[in-house]
């Protein structure tokens, strides 16, 4: 089998995934708007997906790509459910501020 | 079969009473009374059979015995059996059950159906505890008493009912858990040694094991029973629960639930682990004496009438603990006698206090005083039970306390002398009870109806039983004595004690 030369080194790919994930997390923590928080979650999911792809490419296995497909599906489902919830919440609270919705404290 | 009927009847009457509440509020109480009356008849049949049984043969351990497989895989059987001791306590249960129903007759107006459902189920649980001879079944009944009692306190209780109910539940449950562990431990040890997985009381008797293990298992049982009894320092739930419960609940708590603790000690804790119990006896006797004196001093200090009576229970049950761990014929007979007599005396006192509260709307003695002039019959009947409670000869309490002390004297003179001081302390709080309520000058002017005929009949019957116990206790002593003789480890411990 011919080895496909690696165009991107593993470390750089992982670094990118890590940075993306950190952006997503920071976004999730600092933004209060639910839409932006959802987007941040998307970024984190995609960061994870990127990590899988890079790892799959490194080991020349299809598993990484398959996992990415799963994550993609999951993300789609998550967004649809999430947006629906956001819509409902917006109707209920008339705002998208996540901090305003803290009724679930014990 | 009668044994099953005793329990099933109450279990069945409970839901019926609950359902028929819709038809009218008088239905539940009549159903409860009816079921208990039938039970009383059944128990009396057992009593007459006992006499026949004694005259025919003095052999077998049980007067009635019933066993059916339940969960054979774990060696669990539905095993009920009755000997003299159980019979006495069954009679007491049903008798006090009747009085509790009568005491609640007018007091309970809301959700009466559910009330009598709970009342009947507690009684069924208590009966089960006194009859079960399979440890697993015993535990089931033990827990069955708990939940309805919780509801009785938390739904129909007084001001701090929820607090009291939760406290009651937590204390008892903590003890029960330790007992469950001990039951399982005993079962496993027995299974390891013989290869037989069983929870049956008689098969588990005489299981040999390491001294330390035996002590820990015994303590597991002791924990549950000491909480129920209650022995100081596990008594903290009692005053709250007794005070906050409705009258019927207080009667059952004081008269019966406490007795399940004493019964458990006599039936399980000591016979299953005779050596460990003997090693532990000095501590338990000391706890008994502390309970006698501590409870009495606390009772004296109370201004809440129900709390006063509640703490007097702690003192009285101290005698029971002392008697049980003296573990000789006289002291044990005394302990049984004290259990029955205390059930009646304290039950009656709770009925009286409850009726007084129903009339005056308060239990605070600082607002009473001089009530004799207003309600003389009330005063006279309370006086009778107060002096029974201080252990005056001629009452069953005297027989109980005297026998306990007489028996414990041979085991430990010092402890007995201290416990005898409890007799003085009992006078102090019993007289204080009378002085602060019925005697003395009136602090407020009350107008209240005197005792109703319904109450007079119930309390009159209780006085009659009390005097009968005091002057001719022989039938009770015979019934209990025969059962006590058969207890496992009875002879051994007595022998050891008389040597020392």
């Amino acid at each position: 089998m011919n080895a496909v030369p690696l165009s991107i080194p593993l470390a750089q790919g992982m670094l990118l995934a890590g940075v993306l994930f950190a952006f997503g997390l920071i976004g999730l923590l600092v933004r209060r708007n639910l839409i932006f928080m959802l987007m941040s979650v998307e970024i984190m999911l995609n960061a994870a997906g990127l990590a899988f792809i890079v790892a799959g490419a490194q080991w020349e296995q299809a598993d990484g790509q398959i996992m990415f497909l799963f994550i993609l599906t999951l993300a789609a489902a998550e967004v649809s459910v999430g947006l629906a919830l956001v819509l409902q919440l917006y109707r209920h609270f008339q705002t998208l501020d996540a901090d305003a919705m803290s009724r679930l404290w014990g | 079969m009668i044994l099953v009927w005793l329990i099933v009847l109450l279990l069945a009457a409970g839901p019926v009473a609950w359902l028929l509440d819709r038809r009218g509020s008088q239905w539940p109480r009549w159903i409860a009374l009816g079921a208990l009356a039938i039970d009383l008849v059944l128990a009396l049949i057992l009593w007459t059979e006992r006499e026949a049984h004694v005259s025919i043969s003095n052999q077998g351990m049980w007067l009635a015995d019933l066993s059916a497989p339940w969960i054979p895989r774990f060696g669990i059987t539905f095993h009920l059996a009755l000997d003299g001791l159980s019979l006495l306590l069954v009679l007491l249960t049903i008798f006090l059950g009747v009085t509790a129903v009568v005491a609640s007759w007018t007091e309970i107006r809301e959700r009466a159906g559910f009330f009598y459902f709970n009342l009947l189920w507690v009684l069924a649980g208590v009966l089960g505890v006194f009859l079960a001879m399979d440890l697993f079944l015993f535990f089931v009944f033990w827990e069955m008493m708990l939940v309805p009692m919780y509801f009785l306190i938390s739904v129909w209780g007084h001001e701090h009912r929820v607090y009291a109910a939760v406290k009651f539940f937590l204390f008892t449950q903590a003890g029960s858990l330790l007992m469950l562990i001990a039951i399982l431990g005993l079962m496993f040890i027995h299974a390891q040694q013989t290869g037989v997985v069983t929870f049956d009381y008689q098969q588990l008797l005489g299981t040999t094991m390491d001294q330390t293990v035996a002590l820990w298992l015994m303590l597991g049982f002791f924990a549950a029973f000491a909480v129920k009894l209650p022995a100081v320092p596990f008594h903290a739930w009692l005053p709250d629960a007794h005070t906050e419960a409705p009258t019927g609940g207080s009667v059952i708590l004081a008269g019966l639930l406490l007795k399940t603790g004493a019964y458990g000690l006599i039936r399980f804790a000591v016979p299953l682990f005779p050596d460990a119990a003997q090693a532990f006896a000095p501590v338990a006797m000391a706890l008994g004496v502390i309970g006698i004196l501590y409870g009495a001093v606390l009772a004296f200090a109370q201004t809440d009438l129900k709390r006063l009576v509640a703490y007097s229970s702690v003192s009285h049950l101290g005698f029971v603990l002392l008697g049980i761990f003296s573990w000789n014929a006289i002291a044990l007979e005394g302990a049984v006698m004290q259990m029955i007599a205390h059930g009646i005396t304290t039950g009656a006192l709770f009925i009286l206090v409850g009726a007084l509260q129903e009339r005056l709307g308060t239990r605070d003695v600082r607002r009473m005083g001089g009530l004799w002039a207003t309600v003389p019959r009330f005063g006279a009947v309370t006086l009778v039970f107060a002096i029974a409670s201080l252990g005056l000869p001629g009452s069953g309490n005297f027989i109980g306390e005297f026998l306990v002390l007489l028996g414990s004297y041979r085991v430990n003179v010092f402890v007995t002398v201290l416990a005898a001081l409890g007799l003085v302390a009992a006078v102090i709080y019993s007289l204080a009870l009378i002085q602060r309520t019925f005697h003395g000058s009136a602090n407020e002017s009350w107008t209240a109806p005197d005792l109703s005929t319904r109450h007079l009949v119930t309390l009159g019957a209780m006085i009659a039983v009390q005097v009968w116990l005091g002057l001719y206790p022989q039938p009770v002593l015979d019934a209990a004595g025969q059962a006590l003789q058969n207890l496992h480890g009875f002879g051994e411990v007595v022998a050891v004690v008389s040597k020392g």
Binding site: L25, L28, L29, V30, R32, M37, A98, D99, S102, R103, L104, W105, G106 | K167, V232, P233, H235, A236, P239, V297, L298, A301, A329, I330, E333, G370, W372, A380, L383, I387, L392, P393, G394, I399, F402, L403, L405, L406, Y409, R410, T416, A420, L423, V424, V427, I428, L431, A432, Q435, F438, H439, G440, S441, A442, L471, Y472, P473, Q474, L477, G481
Partner: protein, 641 residues
């Protein structure tokens, strides 16, 4: 031929059970159905039941003495076995012998007279029925005490009389002071009862029975003289006796017990219940013979008590309190007699004392009622003319109490005790000296009463006068206070020994070695003590009252007088040492310190909960941050470890 009952044909002595049973019937009727009766019916039942008891007791007594084949033979009537457990089998059974017969006769006779008196005395009281119910119950309990054939039944009676005493002291329940006095009486005597109960445990554990006769036989058999067990047992029984009989150091309850109606004081706190201690010791005298230390203690307690109480009686102002201290003092004489082994003399003094002290109380009650509930003797006076019957009977009672020579019963019984205190092997001149000093003081305080109440000027107007039902018993008791003494006359003065012969089978006497001249000399000393006391009273309280006020006016005089009025400060002592600490402990621990441990535990758990609670903000971003931080920590842990 044993005497048979003319009605039922049963053997007469077998009617013994009826004596307490009749009074019991009276009690039950009054307690359960009395609400429907008129006052007349109530009195009829209350007095009648005791009267019937008295009649039956008399018949039984005659049968007992007169039975031709076995005169004076003890008779044990067992009704049923009380309880039976492995060797422990006390019965409900009545034992009749000369000792219990004397007690029974005195109790029923004096009891009946006092009931009769009360029927008039209490007529205006709202608690008429309650009074008679309690009184009847008392008679039952007292009879059970003296008739019980075993110590447990005796104990039943013992506690029963204590209960009735409590109920009757606090009879007028509205006044909290009466309730306090009643509770004090019950609690203090109960302290003694606990000692008695422990004594019972000891006796049963070592001798294996409660039957008194068996017990005494076994004790004599198994325990040598002076054995420690016998001594301990005797001391424990003595503890019960000093409680019930109000001797040192438990006598403080009796003066306060005067809060009860006067007939109660007469019956319970003078004639019968308080002498139960004497009865107990006399009944178990075999045990005391085995324990010389304990017996000496009895004598010393008796001697000291009689002196202390006599001093207190001297200074009281309340007529009933004088009599109460006098009772303590006279029971001191009985204990003195018991302590020197003069069992019969103690019983004899009990008998005469029952008559004259009941008489004194009833007469005092008549005085008090006539003067509108006036108790202070310094506000009485001059009643000689206004209440002649009361005066003469009271005078006879006081003379008897003072031991007025030759004609009064009190003289003969007291003289007997003093003689034995000297002549008995256990006696000593010291004990005799205490007794004679006591005799002088007794005469002094009794006539202090007579002179202050009946002589001098009238200070309070006389209201109602006692009627026939009150005066009748007074006269009968006065007659008794005079003639009962002639049952036992000392050698030098006529030598009658009916009483000591009668009880000899139960209460043995000892051979005396002292000569008749010594006896006569001592008797003259006793007479002189009494006469001197009366004379001194005459001078101090009637002729020259200034002398007394001169003495009490001084600093020391007034201090001493106050000290005596307070009963030698014992009340205060007990208050500081026992009552207050107990109250303090009770009050401090009112909310149950052990409960604090549990509430403390609950508090801790709640704090823990509160700490965790703070992390639960409900903000999604906070959760996400914590989630991230947690993951970082876990990863770091895994990587770094």
């Amino acid at each position: 031929m044993p005497t048979r009952c003319p009605v039922c044909g049963a053997e007469m002595v077998d009617l013994l059970w009826l004596v307490p049973a009749l009074s019991l019937l009276g009690f039950l009727t009054l307690a359960m159905a009395g609400g429907w009766f008129s006052r007349k019916t109530i009195a009829l039942i209350g007095v009648g039941s005791v009267g019937l008891s008295m009649v039956v007791a008399g018949l039984v007594g005659f049968a007992f003495i007169g039975s031709s084949d076995s005169p004076g033979q003890p008779h044990d009537q067992i009704l049923w076995t009380w309880l039976q457990i492995s060797g422990f089998g006390p019965t409900i059974g009545f034992y009749l012998d000369p000792l219990s017969l004397v007690m029974m006769l005195v109790i029923t006779l004096v009891g009946f007279l006092i009931h009769l008196y009360s029927a008039e005395f209490m007529i205006d009281d709202e608690g008429y029925r309650r009074f008679f119910a309690y009184m009847n119950l008392f008679v039952v309990a007292m009879l059970t005490l003296v008739l019980g054939d075993n110590l447990l039944l005796l104990y039943l009676g013992w506690e029963g009389v204590g209960l009735c005493s409590y109920l009757l002291i606090g009879f007028w329940y509205r006044d909290p002071a009466n309730g306090a006095a009643a509770q004090k009486a019950f609690i203090v005597t109960r302290l003694g009862d606990v000692a008695l109960a422990i004594g019972l445990f000891l006796l049963f554990t070592h001798l294996g029975t409660f039957n008194i006769q068996d017990l005494m036989a076994r004790a004599a058999e198994q325990w040598p003289v002076g054995s420690s067990l016998a001594t301990i047992a005797a001391f424990l029984l003595l503890g019960g006796a000093v409680g019930k009989s109000a001797q040192l150091p438990l006598q403080t309850w009796l003066p306060d017990a005067m809060a009860g109606p006067t007939p109660v004081s007469a019956l319970i706190h003078a004639a019968t219940m308080v002498t139960a201690g004497m009865y107990l010791i006399a009944r178990t005298h075999v045990l005391y013979s085995l324990a010389p230390t304990a017996q000496t203690a009895v004598a010393v307690i008796g001697a000291v008590t009689l002196l202390l109480a006599a001093c207190s009686a001297l200074v009281q102002r309340d007529i009933k309190r004088v009599l109460a201290y006098s009772t303590i003092s006279q029971i001191g004489y009985m204990f003195l007699a018991l302590g020197v082994g003069a069992w019969a003399a103690a019983l004899f003094h009990f008998t005469t004392h029952a008559f004259f002290k009941a008489l004194l109380f009833l007469a005092a009650g008549a005085v008090i009622q006539s003067l509108h509930e006036e108790h202070d003797i310094y506000r009485m006076g001059g009643l000689r003319r206004a209440l002649p019957v009361t005066f003469w009977t009271f005078l006879i009672g006081a003379a008897s109490l003072a031991g007025f020579p030759l004609v009064t019963a009190g003289f003969y019984s007291k003289d007997w005790i003093l003689w034995e205190a000297w002549a008995s092997p256990l006696g000593s001149p010291w004990l005799w000296g205490a007794g004679v000093t006591g005799a002088f003081l007794t005469a002094l305080y009794s006539f202090r009463l007579v002179f202050n109440v009946f002589f001098g000027e009238a200070k309070t107007e006389v209201g109602s006068r006692p009627g026939l039902m009150m005066e009748g018993p007074l006269i009968v008791l006065a007659a008794g206070s005079l003639v009962v003494g002639f049952l036992e006359v000392p050698r030098a003065l006529g030598d009658v020994s009916l009483f000591s012969e009668f009880v000899r089978s139960v209460l043995p006497s000892f051979e005396t070695t002292a000569s008749i001249t010594t006896e006569l000399a001592l008797q003259i000393a006793t007479m002189l003590a009494a006469l001197l006391g009366i004379a001194a009273a005459y001078i101090l309280f009637l002729r020259r009252p200034g002398l007394v006020t001169a003495v009490t006016g001084t600093v020391w005089g007034s201090a001493l007088s106050r000290f005596w009025i307070e009963g030698w400060g014992l009340d205060r002592l007990y208050d500081t040492w026992f009552v207050r600490p107990f109250l303090w402990v009770a009050q401090t621990n009112k909310d149950d310190l052990i409960d604090r441990v549990y509430t403390g535990l609950a508090w801790l758990i709640r704090q823990f909960f509160a700490a965790l609670h703070r992390t639960q903000t409900g903000q999604v971003r906070w959760y996400a941050a914590v989630l991230a931080a947690g993951s970082v920590v876990i990863v770091a842990l895994v990587v770094l470890s």
